[in-house]
């Protein structure tokens, strides 16, 4: 075997221009063979996933839908340092920082917090670099398997703090399990 004929996929075929035999030239037999091939496909398992009713199974390690974490006392961890926005290759994250007031000590862990924190889900590629960049362990991609819901307006894909911050009941559950330990 010469070097030109070796293929990595093992599927390389040598093209030949050999003359067709009589059987091939009258076509009828070859057409019947083709019909047999297509007929076999009629009974093959269909690969289509009927989406709204069936959902493609996701990998066990799939990470989607970000969450802004709270600490064990239920305070938001994010300090609006902007490292996640900086690291984001899709430039999906934007935020606005604000200073914590004295009476808000139970809401935010540090003196600075994110007043607005938005992720544009149309841009996000779920790479997880925000998670890696965060020095406060405030943002995580969750295993919730929640796919971004479809919508008719672009605005509906920009997720604000109302959708991103960890829900309170979840935070309460976390604090309780921490105190038991």
């Amino acid at each position: 075997m010469s070097i030109q004929q070796i293929s990595l996929s093992g599927r390389k075929m040598q093209v030949s221009n050999k003359e067709m035999s009589f059987l091939e030239r009258i076509y009828v037999w070859t057409i019947l063979k083709g019909l047999w091939t297509t007929l076999k496909h009629l009974f093959k398992r269909k690969v289509t996933i009927k989406y709204p009713e069936e959902v493609r199974e996701m990998s066990k390690v799939a990470r989607l839908q970000h969450m802004l974490m709270r600490d064990d006392q239920g305070r938001e961890r994010c300090t609006a340092c902007g490292l996640c926005a900086l690291s984001c290759p899709a430039e999906a994250i934007t935020m606005k920082a604000a200073e914590r007031k004295p009476e808000e000590k139970n809401l935010y862990r540090e003196e600075k917090y994110a007043e607005i924190y938005e992720i544009n889900m149309l841009r996000c590629i779920f790479c997880g670099l925000c998670e890696e960049a965060c020095p406060k362990e405030a943002i995580y991609l969750t295993t919730s398997k929640k796919i971004v819901a479809s919508g008719y307006k672009r605005e509906s894909f920009i997720y604000g703090k109302d959708k991103l911050v960890m829900p309170l009941d979840m935070a309460i559950k976390n604090t309780q399990s921490n105190t038991i330990q």
Binding site: G34, T37, T38, H41, L42, K44, K46, K50
Partner: protein
């Protein structure tokens, strides 16, 4: 002519018309379903169970679409095109024998709109008018692609009609009659024509693909080259008529194939059923048999569509003039010799 006769014929005509329309409608659904299944997809499945309401949805869509007129000098011809295509597709079914006689209130009723003794000539004549629908519509479209398509369609029709007619002649030599009813009866007595005339069957089958403008001979539509060909400029129900006419034609040519070569409504043991269960049940079973044969041919049309790619124009002409016509002539000669030797 008594009034009962007129009522009887009107009922048959309306029934045949409804059947043709229904079959054409559901052929569009079947086409998409078969195409999908042959490509490992599932096809339309949103409108109704398994997409069964899809043809209605498509029809509603076509009816409500904007009626677009191109900048054409002759609007009358533009409308006439789809009208001719549709009406010729529908009037062919008049001479098809849908079943043997049935007995209603002691009166024998033949399940056929009319049994004229030149049925086959009539069918060939109407089929040739069918191409005028394409030609006139495409000409009136005032569009280069449509015109190209019209030229292709008409030359294709003319060349394949010759081979089709010649293939039919060998059948006529055996039956000695042009009436489809006689041909069916002859096949019921002596066996189906496909066993005696396989070559004629093959030629006729290939030609009917060309006559109905189906792949591999769909040069007239030819999406990739002519953007839809003769119906490029058509929209809404005029476009729907062209598409509908194609499926109605497919149904009719399947019927002709079934009647001429597969024994029409004849099924093995028909005489026994007629004797023991009565002729009404025999006719019903006969009709169902014919229907099954037609459905097979319609499926075959779709099956071939997803198997063979489109012919090139010169290949088409080569096949028609240099292969099919000589073969049909040879077939006639062989049939003649065999008939002389064995009769």
């Amino acid at each position: 002519m008594d009034s009962v006769f007129i009522i009887e014929k009107s009922i048959i005509i309306v029934a045949v018309f409804a059947l043709t329309m229904l079959m054409a409608m559901y052929s569009t659904w079947a086409e998409r379903k078969v195409a999908a299944f042959l490509q490992d997809r599932v096809g339309p499945n949103r409108a109704g169970w398994g997409g069964l309401l899809q043809p209605l949805a498509d029809g509603a869509k076509l009816f409500t679409k904007e009626e677009f007129f191109p900048n054409t000098p002759n609007k009358f011809l533009f409308i006439l095109g789809p009208a001719i295509a549709m009406s010729t597709a529908l009037i062919t079914s008049a001479v098809i024998p849908w079943g043997d006689q049935i007995e209603v209130f002691g009166r024998k009723v033949a399940l056929q709109a009319t049994d004229i003794d030149v049925s086959i000539l009539y069918i060939f004549g109407v089929l040739s008018i069918g191409v005028y629908g394409i030609m006139i519509g495409a000409w009136a479209s005032n569009n280069k692609y449509s015109l190209m398509s019209a030229v292709r369609a008409s030359s294709q029709m003319i060349s394949y009609e010759v081979a089709m007619g010649l293939a039919m002649i060998s059948i006529l030599m055996m039956s000695g009659s042009l009436s489809l009813k006689d041909i069916t009866v002859m096949q019921a007595n002596d066996g189906w024509n496909i066993f005696y005339q396989p070559l004629a069957f093959l030629i006729f089958l290939i030609c009917s693909f060309a006559e109905t403008n189906r792949t591999p001979f769909d040069l007239a539509e030819c999406e990739s080259e002519l953007i839809g060909g003769y119906h490029t400029e058509y929209s809404s129900m005029k476009m729907g008529f062209y598409l509908f006419a194609e499926y109605a034609n497919m149904f009719i040519s399947s019927t002709i194939l079934a009647v001429v070569f597969l024994g029409g409504y004849h099924f093995p043991g028909m005489a026994w059923v007629n004797e023991n269960w009565g002729i009404n049940i025999g006719a019903l079973l006969g009709f169902l048999t014919l229907f099954a044969k037609i459905c097979f041919f319609i499926f075959f049309y779709m099956w071939v569509r997803w198997t063979i790619p489109r012919f090139r124009y010169d290949q088409l002409m080569h096949l028609g003039w240099k292969i099919l016509i000589p073969l049909a002539v040879i077939n006639i000669i062989i049939t003649g010799i065999v008939m002389v030797l064995f009769n």
